[in-house]
């Protein structure tokens, strides 16, 4: 299961999962309404319900959950805390990484920052900033062009012996640490 805020996250995460070997027929995506400022709340609510559903279903079939939310001005830790709070509000136990196959991804400033960095293969100069939005730095067609490459590179960097650049944005590094929770590490 995949929960995303918007179309670009959907395209990126879908490409990543398919590149990682997940067949499209096994991917189910939920996407937020393009509302004004309500996306984070929507993702948090859906996250809590989906965690409950995944835990229920895991006794029948392994079910992984990916959730993606742009961090924007928040830190990755704050985003994690928000989702923890949503779980607590739904009276769900905290995430247990030994049991729950759940990856929480919080690109900062947004997924566009990750896409630009990843599509460069990490070779971007000057270093990419996570402190400002890059959402409007390209035309829609240009995003469509680079998202597949970005997703393929993310896929490569999640492999067990992958050589990753040393200048990874912090939110991406933390995302790479999260992904194995929901996706078995590949060689």
């Amino acid at each position: 299961m995949v929960i995303v805020e918007d179309q670009r996250q959907r395209q990126f995460l879908y490409r990543f999962l398919v590149s990682s070997g997940i067949h499209p027929s096994r991917i189910a995506i939920e996407q937020c309404l393009p509302g004004r400022g309500s996306a984070k709340q929507w993702v948090s609510n859906r996250f809590a319900r989906s965690v409950e559903a995944c835990r229920l279903r895991n006794s029948k079939a392994a079910t992984s959950l990916f959730v993606m939310m742009d961090a924007d001005h928040l830190s990755v830790s704050q985003c994690m805390e928000d989702l923890d709070a949503a779980l607590a509000a739904a009276k769900q136990p905290k995430l247990d990484p030994t049991v729950d196959q759940i990856a929480r991804l919080f690109p900062k400033w947004s997924v566009e920052t990750w896409v630009i960095y990843l599509s460069s293969g990490g070779e971007i100069n000057p270093p990419i900033s996570e402190d400002r939005s890059l959402k409007d730095s390209k035309l829609p067609e240009q995003w469509n062009e680079i998202i597949p490459l970005a997703a393929e590179n993310l896929c490569d960097w999640t492999r067990s012996k992958a050589q990753r650049p040393k200048n990874l944005p912090d939110s991406l590094q933390r995302g790479l640490d999260e992904i194995p929770r929901a996706l078995p590490v590949r060689r």
Binding site: Q7, Q11, S19, G21, I27, I29, L33, G35, S119
Partner: protein
């Protein structure tokens, strides 16, 4: 699991030196459709994007838009008013108008040139006659002009397709690279024979013939179809062609079942399975090859769970190939995923002419598009 699944869909793109994915196909694109005095279309103009969802109530003109495009395509491709074009255009003048001239224009960008094709015909209770047919390439006429009194029922473009590079390019595009389908599993036939045309008919009754054709033209794509079907149909093992008589083969779908291997004819599959087979054929051989594809209610026979995977793959394939995918659908999954970004609402006010506008409602923050449409509030 399948590694790098999408990359196996022949993507039609490659990485350029700047790391940007470059299309290996000429980015062809339908840019504009203009229709006047045809059914409920009066002075109607539509400029499609690369991905588009056409939505609207029954009777809002969605399928008629496809019919207009089909009529032109058949008129050009079949050298004149054949049974398809004739049937569509016959007695098709707008009822509340009293004008003799009907017009359909198709504009496309091909090889970075602007093509404007105009077909003007005489309204008739029978098959129509053509008053004017023209093709401009970057503003320059490329078809000969018939004598003013000459009444014609054939396509000058078809006759003249070898007369200039511009006419040839546009003829090839409109007859081979722009296609429309309203898949009807009930009319699909088990048997097929090699077909020349690169894609099947409107309802895909000849999908078996299309498959036979593709085994020769695109064996890698045919292999990919088998891989796809193994994921889509539980227990599917292979798709084979069996000789029935000279030049005629039938499709056999084999499944591994608890009681052994079972083989089924196309018509022995469920309607939903037939429809999915056709949809993945369209995805593999048309959307993934950069064609302009109209699909009228592709979800008609597919289950709720089956349509999202197809849609996600179709979107990715259209992006990779720089193709053009225009869907007509009421399906909640398609509405929710595409309406906000790619939705165009067709509507008629008080039974008047068809209008089209970007989908946007007052309820976009509150309700999913499927919920808005279910309530009929998109017309507010």
């Amino acid at each position: 699991m399948l590694k790098g699944y999408l990359s196996k869909l022949e993507s039609g793109s490659q990485l350029g030196t700047d790391g940007i994915r470059q299309s290996t196909y000429n980015p062809a694109m339908l840019k504009r459709i203009y229709i006047d005095n045809f059914r409920c279309f009066v002075n109607f103009e539509y400029k499609p994007e690369r991905k588009q969802l056409l939505l609207g109530a029954n009777g809002s003109g969605k399928s008629s838009l496809l019919d207009a495009v089909r009529a032109v395509r058949n008129f050009v491709g079949e050298n004149g008013v054949d049974h398809v074009a004739g049937g569509i255009l016959q007695n098709s003048a707008t009822r509340w108008m009293n004008r003799p001239t009907q017009v359909i224009e198709i504009e496309a960008e091909l090889d970075e040139k602007e093509y404007v094709y105009r077909l003007e015909f005489q309204a008739s209770a029978g098959w129509p006659t053509v008053r004017e047919e023209s093709l401009k390439v970057d503003g320059v006429d490329v078809l000969p002009v018939p004598a003013p009194s000459q009444e014609i029922s054939y396509s000058l473009l078809d006759l003249w397709k070898d007369g200039s590079a511009g006419a040839s390019t546009f003829h090839t595009w409109i007859t081979h690279d722009m296609c429309s389908f309203r898949i009807d599993p009930a009319v699909m036939e088990n048997e097929g024979r090699y077909m020349d045309h690169p894609y099947p008919g409107f309802e895909m009754s000849d999908v078996a013939s299309w498959y036979i054709r593709q085994t020769g033209h695109d064996p890698a794509g045919v292999d990919q179809i088998q891989i796809i079907l193994r994921e889509v149909f539980e227990g599917f093992s292979s798709l084979d062609l069996l000789d029935v008589q000279s030049g005629v083969k039938e499709l056999r779908f084999s499944f591994d079942r608890a009681h052994g291997k079972q083989s089924y004819l196309l018509t022995e599959l469920s309607e939903g399975q037939r429809c999915l087979f056709a949809l993945y054929m369209v995805l593999q051989f048309l959307i993934g090859k950069g064609k302009t594809v109209f699909l009228d209610e592709p979800d008609n026979f597919a289950s709720l769970r089956e349509i999202q995977p197809w849609l996600l793959q179709a979107e990715a394939a259209a992006d990779d190939s720089r193709g053009q995918l225009i869907l007509i659908s009421h399906h909640p999954e398609i509405l929710n995923m595409w309406a906000h970004e790619y939705g165009m609402r067709m509507f008629r006010e008080n039974g008047g002419p068809v209008r089209i506008e970007k989908y946007k409602t007052d309820y976009d923050d509150l309700l999913q598009p499927s919920e808005v449409v279910a309530r009929g509030w998109e017309n507010d």
